[in-house]
């Protein structure tokens, strides 16, 4: 009988620090753990005492990769707390921004972080020599998404223009028309991406779990909506705590969550399972071509769902931009009336549903803060998946077990530095 022990320190090609520990004695699994060891940054603790105008800029620094998501969730929570209404134009601009980030993040994850595993390369850099046209295509699509976020948000990492009630500066119509043209020209790149992913074999593994995502009757929800669960139906964002139920575990500086079962999945696959009927036409055909049918319980298909969402993002962005151009852009600078209050806001960022909640005093100073990020909500599910997946791999060489477990974690596209920055707080 075999002894296996694997200790992957700082799994690579993901954001933040996490370890995989596996210990098998004579074929018996002694230890199988997904440990998160990121340095905690106590984010909520230093948002308190800051003005409502600063909070979204500070919480943006929770995560570099989904800083647009954090900014928008933070603004929505602050606007809910202060009772600020936003215009149709602002909603439209924010939808464009969040689709832009989804496109950028999914292309980065699918091409740069996951594809190397599927073609047996340690990273994207060697692919520059072996598959130059693939790498250039990935870079082109990522540049398009980044440039779009730069135009609409001032900056793709830690955006500048989104602010409470609207935007400090609007993009020019010339810039918008130019980026629209590039989106149209990017469709062939998306089709080539689908063709590439059709040739890659996605590991087969299934484990049924609860899936949670934002949902709305108007659209395939990313920016606005209610909380939907495959096990528990729909509930308002305001009572998000009843869904997340965070708890601490010794092995991780991040907190774990559970709802109806002992873990749940958030992210592209959850959004697909819950809202796939509202996908754009191109996205639906891409799902079919890649063999992704709802409900899908294979966590490795999260990357496939991301490719589907990338196609959706491209088509949706063109539609949203046309809507924006037809309305015409107008300068809006509404006054913000301050009031004491508490409010919660949620958006579905690339890695899953993200909750922010703030309490403000009547001077607009933040007194309490709470953020629950997607990767936090997935830690328990990763742990449960690992415990179910390891037994199927016991006959494989140790190297392959290590790679398959790492690929499992990467499929979730986790953002660990996020998960420990902000930890749920029991109002102690």
């Amino acid at each position: 009988m075999r002894n296996i022990n694997i200790n992957v320190e700082h799994v690579t090609r993901l954001e933040g620090h996490g370890n995989i520990v596996v210990n098998v004695k004579e074929g018996r699994i002694e230890e199988c753990m997904w440990k998160v060891v990121e340095a905690p940054r106590f984010f909520e603790a230093f948002v308190r005492g800051r003005s409502y105008l600063e909070v979204s800029h500070l919480t943006s620094r929770i995560c570099g990769i989904c800083s647009i998501g954090h900014t928008l969730a933070s603004l929505k929570a602050t606007e809910a707390a202060l009772g600020v209404e936003i215009s149709e134009q602002t909603k439209l601009l924010r939808r464009i921004l969040i689709q832009g980030e989804n496109l950028q993040s999914h292309v980065l994850h699918a091409y740069f972080l996951v594809a190397p595993d599927l073609v047996g390369a340690p990273s994207v850099f060697p692919l520059v020599a072996t598959h130059p046209e693939v790498v250039l295509r990935a870079l082109r699509m990522k540049k398009l998404a980044n440039d779009l976020c730069d135009i609409f948000g001032g900056r793709t990492v830690h955006p500048i223009t989104p602010t409470v009630g609207g935007f400090t500066k609007l993009p020019g119509t010339g810039e918008i028309k130019a980026i629209r043209q590039r989106l149209v020209e990017a469709i062939p790149d998306l089709e080539a991406t689908v063709a590439l992913f059709k040739t890659l074999t996605i590991p087969q593994f299934e484990r049924e779990t609860e899936y949670i995502a934002l949902t709305s009757d108007e659209e395939y929800a990313l920016y606005d909506g209610d909380i939907a669960s495959t096990d528990a139906g729909v509930t308002k964002v305001a009572n998000y705590r009843s869904v997340t139920n965070e708890y601490l575990v010794p092995q991780s500086t991040a907190k774990y969550t559970r709802n109806k079962r002992d873990s749940y999945f958030v992210g592209a696959l959850a959004r697909f399972n819950l809202n796939h009927r509202q996908l754009s036409p191109l996205a639906k055909t891409v799902a079919e071509e890649l063999g992704l049918k709802a409900p899908c319980h294979n966590p490795f298909f999260n990357t496939v769902a991301q490719v589907v969402e990338a196609a959706h993002a491209a088509e949706e962005l063109i539609r949203l931009i046309d809507d924006l151009l037809s309305r015409g852009l107008r300068r809006e600078n509404g006054e913000i009336k301050l009031r004491a209050g508490t409010g919660a806001g949620a958006v579905d960022v690339p890695r899953g549903i993200l909750f922010h909640e703030y309490t403000y005093d009547d001077q607009g100073i933040c007194r309490e803060a709470n953020c629950i990020i997607p990767t936090n909500q997935n830690h328990a599910n990763i742990q449960k998946d690992m415990e179910a997946f390891l037994p199927l791999l016991l006959d494989k060489p140790e190297e392959e077990i290590r790679l398959k477990l790492e690929m499992l974690v990467r499929a979730y596209d986790p953002c660990i530095s996020c998960s420990t920055h902000l930890l749920d707080v029991k109002f102690v």
Partner: protein, 245 residues
Amino acid sequence: MKPKVAFFDFASCEGCQLQIVNLEAEMLDVIGAVDIVQFREAMTESSDDYSIAFVEGSITREKDIPRLKKIREQAAVLVALGSCATIGGVNCLKNFQPLEEVRRYVYGDRAHWYETFAARPIDSVVPVDFYIHGCPINKEDFVKTVTELLLGKTPETPSYPVCVECKLKGNVCVFELGRFCLGPVTRAGCGSWCPTYQDNCTGCRGLIPHPNTDAEKEVLQKYGLTVEQAVGQFRVFLGYGEVAK
């Protein structure tokens, strides 16, 4: 012979490393000029044989110090990457609240499991050779610094304030838009990123040499902030320095 380059991070949001990945096609020029041997966020292959180390993030716990010292010993050139590493950045906001209360507030009764001390920039622990400022860094700044290192030139950060770049762009001063800007005492190099989008500069690139911070605080008050609020403006990114005390 291409110099070997490695990327490391401590307490950070990894936005600065992402900016490097966001160089897109120019990234190919970078890997044409240098050999990236360690970059956990994007690469699995890794080696400890490097001569230039880019270090992102602040030091926030005892456990980080040995790892940072090992990097300093190995690297001929250590470059602090981004505000968390160069000046402490947003992590230092935590330093203004009594440590114990912060840990209890966030971790509740299990606070003792998570050790932490006042967040600090890299050069408060090990000597730093060059700085790439900003939160996030400016992509062109990174390429310029790499180019200058390859040329054997001292990578230069502007010693003049953000106002210079703001005026060169013909921006409307954001003080006239009712905002409170730290541009006059903050190092330029970002192309006055935030004021160009009509938001105020919050000083993420650190103070210029010999800043007249008293005059800046006076200006902030003249435009409507209380003394306490004016000092508070300096705590977002410049919390580690005296100016924010």
